[in-house]
C-alpha cells in the first residue's frame, strides 16, 4: 500500500503577523518525487519541518492516508515519515553503523535496545545504499556526500513510506549530487513517496515527477516539471531572466530539458545583486 500525504491550507509563523508560509496545499504522487522548488528563504525548510511534524502548523492540516498528523504520536509519525534535515551538526564520534541503527528508534520500545533483527535491517539498508565499506568508519570522519548516503540509509532503516529530504545535495559536489539524487529516484520507484526541496531548477527537471514552485511563502505553480518550470515562472521566483533548452538525448532519444541564466542576467546591476543578497536570510 502506498501512503498518501496531503497538505491542506497550511500556514505557519514564528511570530504573530508574519507568516513564513501560508495557504499551502499539495499532495504527493505515488512512486515518484515531488520537488518543492524555490529560492533561498522562501520557506521550504520550514514547510518540510511542519510536514514532518517537528514544528506545528498555525493553520491547516497534514493528512497521512487521511489521518491528521496532529493527532498522531511522534513514534507513529516516524514509522511512516522519514525526514533528513539539511543542517546537521555531528556530535559524538559514532560509527556509521551506530548512526544507521538509530533509524530503528520508532520501532523499539522506550526501555529497549536494538535486537538482532534491528541490526539486520540496519545492515541491509547500509548495503542497499552502497556504503558497506564505510560501516565501521567514524561518522564524523566521512565526506559530506557519504554522510548524506548514510543518513538515507538511516532513514531506510526507519522503514518509512514517505521520505522527506531537505535540500539533500546542498553541500555536495557534482558527482555526489547525482549519486544522491539517483538514489532518491530509485527509492521512489521502489515504492516510496518522496518530497524534497531544492533551489536548482535542473534537479527538478531531471529527477522529479511533480514540481511545486514556492515563492515568498506561497505556491505559485504546481504540476509536471515541463508545465511548471517555465522561463516566466523562473523569472518570477528568482528575479533573473532564464532560458530553457530542450535537447534529444543521443542514447535514449528522450527529450531532456535544462535551464541556465540568460545572457541579460549577467548584465544585472550591482544594486540588484545586493538586494538579492540582503533578501535572503
Amino acid at each position: 500500500m502506498v501512503m498518501s500525504l496531503e497538505v491542506i491550507n497550511a500556514s505557519f509563523s514564528y511570530r504573530e503577523g508574519k507568516n513564513v508560509f501560508e495557504n499551502i496545499s499539495f499532495k504527493t504522487i505515488e512512486n515518484d518525487v515531488t520537488c518543492i522548488l524555490g529560492p533561498n528563504g522562501c520557506g521550504k525548510t520550514t514547510l518540510l519541518k511542519a510536514v514532518s511534524g517537528i514544528t506545528r502548523l498555525k493553520q491547516g492540516d497534514i493528512l497521512l492516508n487521511g489521518k491528521s498528523i496532529l493527532s498522531m504520536k511522534r513514534g507513529e509519525i516516524a514509522g511512516i515519515l522519514g525526514y533528513i534535515p539539511q543542517e546537521h551538526a555531528t556530535g559524538f564520534a559514532y560509527s556509521v553503523f551506530e548512526v544507521v541503527l538509530m533509524g530503528r528508534a520508532p520501532h523499539i520500545g522506550v526501555f529497549s535496545s536494538p535486537s538482532k533483527a534491528d541490526v539486520d535491517i540496519a545492515n541491509a539498508a547500509i548495503e542497499m545504499v552502497g556504503v558497506t565499506h564505510l560501516r565501521d568508519n567514524l561518522y564524523t570522519q566521512i565526506s559530506g556526500g557519504e554522510r548524506q548516503l548514510v543518513l538515507i540509509a538511516r532513514t531506510l532503516t526507519q522503514q518509512p513510506q514517505i521520505l522527506l529530504l531537505d535540500e539533500p545535495t546542498s553541500h555536495l559536489d557534482f558527482r555526489n549530487q547525482s549519486l544522491v539524487l539517483c538514489m532518491v529516484k530509485r527509492l521512489a520507484k521502489h515504492g516510496l513517496s518522496v518530497i524534497m526541496t531544492s533551489h536548482f531548477p535542473n534537479q527538478a527537471f531531471t529527477f522529479s515527477g511533480q514540481v511545486v514552485l514556492m515563492h515568498n511563502g506561497g505556491f505559485i505553480a504546481n504540476g509536471t516539471p515541463q508545465q511548471v518550470i517555465t522561463e516566466q515562472n523562473l523569472k518570477t521566483i528568482y528575479g533573473i531572466n532564464c532560458r530553457i533548452y530542450e535537447v534529444n538525448d543521443p542514447v535514449s532519444g528522450e527529450v531532456v530539458r535544462f535551464c541556465t541564466a540568460a545572457d541579460e542576467a549577467k548584465d544585472c546591476q550591482a544594486d540588484e545583486l545586493s538586494t538579492a543578497v540582503s533578501n535572503s536570510p
Binding site: 514532518s52 513514534g75 559524538f92 564520534a93 559514532y94 551506530e98
Partner: protein
Amino acid sequence: MKKPKRGIIILLVLIPIGLAVLSLFIGKYHASPGDIIGMLISKIVPSFPHNSSPNLETAILQVRLPRILLALLVGMSLAISGASYQGLFRNPLVSSHILGVASGASFGAALGIMLSASPIIVQIMAFIGGIVAVGMALLINRFNHASSTLTLVLGGMIIGALFSSLVSLLTYTADPNTKLPAIVFWLMGSLASSSTKALAFAIPPMLAGILVLLLIRWRINVLSMGEEEAKALGVNTDALRITIVVCCTLVTSAAVCVSGVIGWIGLIIPHFGRMLVGPDHKVLLPACLAIGGAYLLLIDDVARTATMAEIPLGILTGIIGAPIFAYLLTKGTRWS
C-alpha cells in the same frame, strides 16, 4: 569503530568487584586476612570455626563494608549521570553538577550544620537542596519561550551560582571554632561518616535512577543527534529529556548528600569510558558505572589509609586524577 573488545568488558566487570573485595582487607583496624575471611564465612555458615571478636565484626561489617558499597555507588552515580548529561546536552564539557545539584546540596548541608542538625538530617537537607536547585533550573527553563537545552544549562548555571553564593554567606558567618570546619570538611567531600543508616537512605534513589538511565540508555544516542533529528526519529524529546534530568538529579543528589562534593568523576570518567568503549551509550553507561565505581573506591581506600587523618576526597580525586588523566590524554587516540 569496532565492537568493544571482549577483554575490556571482562576487565570492566572484574576490576570493581576485585577492588571491593580487596578493600575489605585494608583499613586502620588491624585484622589478619585469615580472621576476616573466617568471620565472613561464619556469617554464612554459622558452624564455621573462627576466632573473631565483636570488634572485628563491627569494624568490617558496620564500618568498612558500608563505606565500600557507598564509594562504589557514589562513583557509579556521578559517572553515569555525567555521561547521560553529556549525551543529553551534546556537550562533553558538562558534568553531573551542571544543573546546580552540587551547589544546592552544599547549601542544604551547610544550613543543616549551622542549625546543629544531626548527621542524618544534614544528609536529608543536602538531598533536598540538590533537588530544589535542579527544580528551580527547570522552572526557569519552563518560563522561557524559546526553551532549549542551552537555556536549561544557563538556568542551571544561574541557580548553581546563586547557591554557591549562599554557601559562601553561610561559611562567612559560621562560628570559626565549631561550625566552619564542619562545613568546609563537608564541602571537600568524604565518606568518613558513612554508616548503614546513610547507606539505607541513599541506596533507593541511586539504584532507581541508575536503573532507569540504563533502561533508556540507547535512546540517549538518538537524543544526542540533536533535538530535531531525535523528533524526526520518533523520540518524544521532552519526555526523554525530563526523565534523564530527574534520574540524574536523584542519583547525584543522593551521592552528594552522603559524600559531599566530589568533582572530576562526573566529568572525566565519561571521557575515559568513551576512550575505552566508544560513544555508544548502550555500552558507555555500563562502562561508566564500572569505571566510576572502581575509581572512587580506589580514591577512598587511599583517603582512609594513606595518613593518620582522613584526607578529603575532593582533594584526592584531583591530585590522583590529574596525572592519570593527563597521561591518558596524551595517549588516547579516540579521546571523545
